[in-house]
Amino acid sequence: MANIKTLAKKQEQQVRLSSGHSLCAGCAEPMVVRTVLNSIDDPVVVANATGCLEVATSRYPGTAWNVPWIHSAFENAAATIAGVEAAYKGLLRAGKLERKVRFVAFAGDGGTYDIGLQALSGALERGHDFLYVCINNEAYMNTGVQRSSATPRCASATTSPVGDAIPGKPQDRKDLTEIVVAHHIPYVAQASVSNLIDLSNKVERAMAYDGPKFLNVLTTCPLGWRTRKDTSIPMAKLAVETRYWPLYEVVEGVYKINYKPKKHVPVEEWLKQQGRFRHLFKSPEGKSSLEEFQASVDENWERLLKKEQCLSGADAAQ
């Protein structure tokens, strides 16, 4: 199990994603990438979908990657890593390789929830041995903050702008984690950049399994969320504390909520610090939207508790 010391030590031992990239000040993405890669001891190969992470880490004259890395077109990270993994298996079988190598795909929410969903589903169903990490900042940030299907209801984005008639995005976000669970793969989890030890433990647990593994990691984007640059970690933490973003895992079909906030923090506390929700605090309609938002957070949390109860290891044993 990881702790802050082992994480720090690994960071000293190996730099798989170096500094010097051009991700924005306050962007939490590199912390996710480093924690994930440092929680894997074997050599890794990374496939990276188009997005902030890709453009900001691979720019001439340098690259931030100290591991083999391939960027394919936007929708194909899962397909590309599947091809790499299949070739590796072929080489193993032919006796041309002996080392254990692990495969990781990184993609944003646009490249996972939207355009990459088909490729992800296909790779999960075929059962490739890889870890897919969705770095989820809830919109297309690299191209100027367009809404994605991970964007929460009411959030303002350039393609779901706030107007007189429409209070931001009219639809609920997609529950991608549960869609992945429905593929019955060995390991699925939600994590947050605010809880790096939890994230690291999840990667370690995931990598113990052969076959597809999936992590959905919430990551603050100060530009798109319109939050202060020095609050990315507290913002992500608040998403967890308000139960908006539960930390949980589904291991071979068994649900476990990794962290249950002791007190009920209203989701308003998280929303009100973000410019993308500012309009909700300015009108009477906004007030009812806030109530609906809270109700949906509560409902999702209750449903998750029930799933844990019904589909926990303890129940299964009885």
């Binding site: 051009s22 991700l23 924005c24 000040a25 188009t50 902030c52 453009v55 900001a56 720019r59 960027h71 077109a73 936007f74 929708e75 646009g110 929830y113 939207d114 355009i115 969903l117 297309y140 940030m141 690299n142 191209t143 100027g144 367009q146 809404r147 299907s149 350039t158 393609t159 779901s160 702008p161 107007g163 007189d164 008639a165 429409i166 530009l223």
Partner: protein, 560 residues
Amino acid sequence: MDIVIRIVGAAGQGVQTVGEVLTRAAFHSGLELHAEQSYHSRIRGGENAFALRLAPGPAWGAREGTEVLAALNQEMLDQYLPSLTDGGWLVCDEDLTVSEARVVRVPASRLAKEELGLPIAANMVLLGAAACVAGIEEESLARAVRDAFGDKAELNLEALALGKQHAGDPRLGPHSPAYTHGERMLITGGAAVGAGAIAAGCRYLASYPMTPGTAVLTYLAERATRWGLVVEQAEDEIAAINMALGAAYAGARAMVTTSGGGFALMVEGLSLAGMIETPVVIHIGQRPGPATGLPTRTGQDNLLFALHAGHGEFPRYIVAPRDAQEAFYLTAKAFDLAEKHQVPALILTDQYLVDSFSTCAPLEVTRVAPRSYLLTPEELEAMVSYDRFAITDSGVSPRAVPGVSEKLVLVDSDEHDTYGRITEDLHFRKALNEKRLRKAKGLMQDVAPPYVHPSGGLEGRTVLLGWGSTYAAIREAVDMLNAEGESFAMIHFSELWPLRTHELEQVFDQAARMIAVEGNATGQLASLVAQQTGLKVHGFIGRHDGRPLTAADIAQEVAR
């Protein structure tokens, strides 16, 4: 006076905001202008440049050379300083290192922090100084700032005043106004495509974000409620074009906007549009490929792709507007011809055109008022039977909207009979295929001739052949070259398919030399012309480094 004011800095420093304010100020002053934006594909850092060109007559496109360089950081200052012309001025913060003698140093960061308590306003201080040096009217600048910042304008106005104070007297100008209020408008190419779509009665846009096509998506999303449009962001481009086809089947004028990579995913849907004869308008904002290529740069490397995309043989209409004004009218025309001939219509712009501001005559909405080509419910009722794909001389079958009558509107991606039922009767296959292809003839009659300049007497001249947004650069090059006593001319295509060959043959016949000028590496229009007419150009000038062609590029290459 023809001057370029170039604002350069890193992404996130407000280059675009400052540039837009300055552009609007120049517009309010009644100056003809063209403003070009170039930026790296990243949210922070990198190169960001905004070049505002002021000209005495209708402004041409972008050009090299800088008369006022406002540099926001050292890296960009060093990169752009060589572009400063004799008599040009550099404006920068006092903490930047520079040996240039003609420099106006402004303690912008210090003033913003100490005087205004707002460090972020440093770029507005610098703008105040740069605008003063360039001779931009103070009132126009203040108006542009008020428009841009609303209730936050006051501090920004103070910032401008501080900058002006430090700059001293104007070094350039004054510029005499070329027009009065209402005679000209200011618009970007992307907005012009969006406005053209609204004017043409577009009711539905489905798209997936992809630079630079996204500009049209955000433009229409912001105006959807006001103009009664449905704007949907799809999960990918495959869904986007099929959603648009669904909407068009139901009778809505439908559009998608994307770039080359996204269009690649739409290709199967394009072929479907050809088969089910359902109109759809596809805007492709070109950027250099292959693959992700240069996401925020410009190029013209999708012409042959747009023409040949889609399996099977079917007619299509392709336009490539030469500037923002034409982007408005040709977008509207694309909607009209897509409806009239029941074909897909493709609009090829590029990052340069989409992001550039220019002044133009006010767009006339009434000139492009939508005409309906659909059967009315009454007409449909009066028919004994309704065959969606009835064989006609023109190839165009009367088109009805489903659900308005008992008569069914059946469309099928499989080869079908006139009623829309799957058939493998080879007689039907041949008849239907020929019917679809016959539409190309009528379509050709609606295509306007290419632009030829000067309009007569091309004998013995060297004629430059171009298409789309390179118009301004070629036009300027021709005038530049002719001023030096050479005899040059141009032929320029905005409507590319079906390709009108008559004028081409005439020009080839008269010209001493034909040179293709394109924003690509292989000469795609030149290839198309050779394929369609058997005529080969004598030379080719291509630019494919992601930057727009300029008149100087062309004149230099021609002289070689």
